[in-house]
Symmetry: C3
Subunit: 474 residues, 3 copies
């Protein structure tokens, strides 16, 4: 494999036997030390809970936040590891890398995220400690998602060491932009922008800096086979099914979680129909393309990332899904080739169409829906609850809020683009063990790959035998 | 592919480039308009929830129906999309169609179901609106299940446009029969009959009308390969594991949900053992057949669809599972071939044995268990709670209830058979883009299928090369 | 298949057409009879619940144990059937046996476990009945896990009838050791030892007795192919993601469940990094080995099986994961080959490294953490709650408790080793239909396996055709 092209230039050194273990050990030990210094259980996960219940006048264990959020947490957890992981198994010979490196970087990222988000959002300044509970776990999973999205743009073209760097910086940038957006701008329910717009543009910027002019040398491996497309559907479906949990996992208890789940469910259903429609229209014989079904069907969930908690109304959710299905599928048909040919931007999974654009749209949809909010629709208390018009934000109007929501979206995109460009340049150093241009999308580079001799059916072995015999005769 | 048989008659036009997008767009736009007119959030998902809590004297957010039902909803959601979808990936070259079209029609069906079920069961006549919450989402998923079951009988033989028609009518018929059974007959816990008996007979009736005398021309593709059978086990297991949630998702809070889950769990466990036993007995060397393991193991869940909520007692559940495992496996061994050869009924997935018959049995089991209910076993309040002997049904006896339960089962079957026959005739119009008899079970017809050249190991490529060279020499 | 080796000795009789159905029917009928005599609904799943609420002064249905535990139960259920099942699909031609036999024996095991655990832990001596609810279902799933772990050591080398025997005795032994450990020794949160240490050593002891000196004759099938490794990742990830539910499913309501989930989540994340590091270091070019990623990444969950509920603190969890990832991966690299070559112990899945050793470690970690517990960290009430220092154990000190925890671990290992040796000798009788040494790891023995002719791409069929033609010419 790949030997035939060795004359094209010096093979890159893809041996990560020193760098990968070094990075894993150093970073994991750092995590242990920092957790030792900073991270403690919060009152709901601490053995003092019984005392806390008495102090806070909580009447039952079922009021522990665990029971409000744990089912959604597990759904989100499945999305992060099986959803993102299997969605990236579609390449014919990069399924190990897709699901395996996703597993690695998410496992690192969530630890780093607990710290970064803890410092910015959950630090108790009197004790200097971060007190964690189930909501922190969900947030850490979300924070990883940004870097996993970026991986989608880089799939098959980077080394696991590079991915660890992408995640280290990705989580850091995420925590900072999230702090600016949620705390300084007081934006609400910012999933679309904070996670998807940021993650998408972060990955695109890195990929743009790492442009490989000779990537066509790996073209033979940049595609799917029948069963790898079926594996990818596992990822697609678990993302699709659990997206209502993604968008409702950390919204307000009660109607907030309830409404966010309903809105996301509806938007996603609508997206499937328009994705199928555009996919079928785009082919001469009306055949569907698995790339669209695997990816664009999810765009409705991304686009509802902010507005899901708002009173967008059920038909509003359907409209959002309707439009994003069309936009995302058009993106796969026209924008991804355009980016690659004209802008020198190679985006393996098309995160531009699934995360970047729908995430940006979701941010602006959230801004519009926020600006249109009224006491009539929300009730006075509901309005205050949903938008947290309390404390120093008590006098903010819905119009102002809409403006801040839009501003937050721009901040997320800016962080993605600038941060991604910087990280891209760091990744260009020739020390990270990335593959050569003729060696991309190939698990052989970083994995012990079994030989698939078993896929040769007996009849063929017989024929091969005959051929050799035959040749001997001559 | 298929060219060799072109002389058998004019190839059918399977181009759905106009019809599929047209159906998707028209129906999705209709959904948006109808949702705009009819669908609103219910008090538990509306921002007025805080006011509602005060009015209704609800003390905590945890009392929101979301927390009672959302975990079960997500399990059901997985069953609909991954369960049914992957169960239908077993064919060697129809995995895209199995999981992909299931995805499409469920996404449409659940929207239409929210409306149809809303009009019949949840319409507020004073405002003319349907107010939805998580229970409606579960019901909508259930309603889709009827049409997805029907798809099992049609798998590989119909176009996606036909499937959209099957779903449109399937959901409509479902809502009507459900209204008759649950409201007019006041039947309780009618999952077995309303979903499975209806869906099964609906699919069988359609398939009977669409009988293809020359289907043997596609025989080469009507079977599994090794890995497609493993994919199908993903569907089987998620259906099997989450069936307790299916049968308990909308039963009464508290003991109702609790008991329904236990009963279903036990029945399913028992089914597995008798399925394995019969499967092994049926082969000369005692080898197991994947078709049985993938399907008949689920029959116990179907058969408990009604009685799960009742006090059938744990050993009663085991007996139900025991019997249905045997009946269902016998069905795959003897009834499906009989139906195909004698009754001209081609049932790709054997829904007759997994849904139709176990669903019917489940209805009658429910009738017997209901008729045998007593105050001693249920307590007076329990009896009223479980069977809703309130209002105008306050004087109904358990014997009468049993009779109505049986009648409901008959209504479901009648709706399936008559409705299916009519829909079958509609689908015979030559405008729907269905495949020719020699072109069934083939993803090539409606999907862009990747070429699997990668499954040729290098040694073979070398040999091929040698062959050609060899031929050149001559 | 296998015919070529027939001269090596008389082929074993692998026909299970009588024995497998007989075992399934007899055992399932026994279950029905015993359930009829012993098993009833508990007050939370019985229709008398409303009366029970009034008696016990329970104010809301949401206080039913169902809502505390059902989401975790479903996660555990997925681990048992999809997790363990798919983890064992990694062999190139034993995926049916991996996932299918796992399905069979878990379905039997959970019924037998409800009885065995019921008799030992939940029997109401006044009525002679066992009253079950959702917690019993979780415990039954746990109890099965012991035997499923043992199956991992035996994978590909035993018949389904033998597996039923392994499960019958495995569940029985489990219930007895659990009774000794939890009730007589009053050990707390004993998952690591009761499930994993026991199950691991039980499987290893059986495998040691069943040593096959000529197993190298099946060497061609003892390995993976590309897609079977991807299937196995489904098992790995569902185990990994849901392990927090495994360790928290039956811990105390409130902070207990909450803390157990957090600790497990952290330990598992840490394990992934050290597994990757050691796996990469072990290969000349730093390539990762799928065997390690599929298995050793889970060791952190096993090792937290006891301490998860304790106040081990977040950084403590990371340290546990860190160490077990290293130990487990070293096990796969050095100990498994050593066991096979020196100790004549063939361990197909390496349960020694994933369950036996991490389970034992987990038991001792629990002992140390228990011995180090203090009122300061737990609060007085917390300490009593977590360690159940009530009744006759009210005066136990944390030091004594630590000692008992360690003793419990030794009991579990002893039960596994002695019980496994005995069961191994039972399985040596030549009546169970096990495969010959040259016929192991092959689904052909117990399954109808489809012919994979479809994996030959058309171009090859053409070439084959040309070869034959060619030969004719000569």
């Amino acid at each position: 494999m790949g030997n035939c092209c060795a004359y094209l230039g010096p093979q890159k050194n893809t041996n990560v036997r020193v760098s990968l273990p070094a990075v894993c050990f150093v970073w994991q030990i750092a995590m242990i030390v920092l957790f030792g210094v900073f991270i403690r259980y919060n009152p709901e996960s601490d053995a003092h809970w019984v005392e806390h219940m008495r102090t806070e006048n909580i009447s039952s264990d079922i009021e522990n936040d665990f029971y409000y959020r744990y089912p959604s947490f597990q759904d989100v957890h499945v999305m992060i590891f099986v959803g993102f992981g299997f969605l990236m198994t579609f390449l014919k010979r990069y399924s190990f890398g897709g699901v395996g490196f996703n597993f690695l970087i998410a496992s690192f990222g969530l630890q780093w995220a607990l710290l970064m988000q803890g410092w910015f959002h959950f630090l108790d300044h009197s004790t200097g400690k971060i007190y964690i509970g189930v909501e922190n776990l969900i947030n850490a999973d979300f924070c990883c998602a940004g870097s996993l999205i970026a991986y989608g743009a880089l799939l098959g073209k980077v080394s696991p060491v590079q991915l660890m760097v992408v995640t280290l910086f990705g989580v850091t940038l995420f925590a900072v932009e999230e702090y600016i957006i949620l705390h300084l701008l007081h934006v609400n329910a910012g999933g679309s922008m904070v996670i998807h717009a940021f993650g998408g543009y972060y990955g695109l910027a890195i990929s743009w800096v790492l442009y490989r002019p000779n990537l066509h040398l790996s073209k033979r491996l940049n595609g799917s086979v029948y069963h790898s497309d079926v594996f990818a559907m596992i990822g697609t479906l678990f993302l699709w099914m659990f997206w209502p949990s993604f968008n409702s996992a950390i919204t307000d208890h009660g109607d907030g979680q309830h409404r966010a789940a309903i809105n996301t469910y509806l938007a996603l259903a609508s997206t499937v129909l328009t994705t199928v429609a555009i996919s079928s229209m785009s082919q001469k014989k009306g055949k569907l393309d698995m790339v669209h079904i695997q990816n664009a069907t999810l765009a409705g969930g991304v686009a509802m990332g902010t507005a899901a908690e708002f009173m967008i109304s059920p038909y509003g959710s359907l409209i959002v899904g309707f439009c994003t299905g069309i936009i995302s599928t058009f993106g796969y048909l026209f924008v991804t080739p355009f980016l690659e040919n004209k802008l020198k931007l190679q985006d393996t999974c098309g995160v531009h169409n699934l995360h970047a654009v729908p995430g940006m749209l979701g941010g602006f949809i959230g801004a519009i829906v926020a600006a249109a909010a009224s006491e009539e629709v929300y009730s006075r208390e509901g309005l205050i609850d949903v938008f947290d018009f309390e404390g120093k934000h008590a006098n903010r109007t819905v119009g102002t809020q809409g403006g801040y929501q839009a501003a937050g979206t721009c901040v997320a995109i800016a962080f993605g683009l600038v941060g991604g460009a910087i990280v891209g340049f760091i990744l260009k150093f020739p020390i990270w063990g990335d593959p050569a241009d003729d060696n991309c999308y190939d698990d052989e580079v970083y994995w012990e790959v079994p030989e698939d001799e078993e896929t040769i059916p007996p009849v063929l072995e017989y024929n091969n035998h005959m051929i050799h015999k035959h040749q001997d005769i001559h």
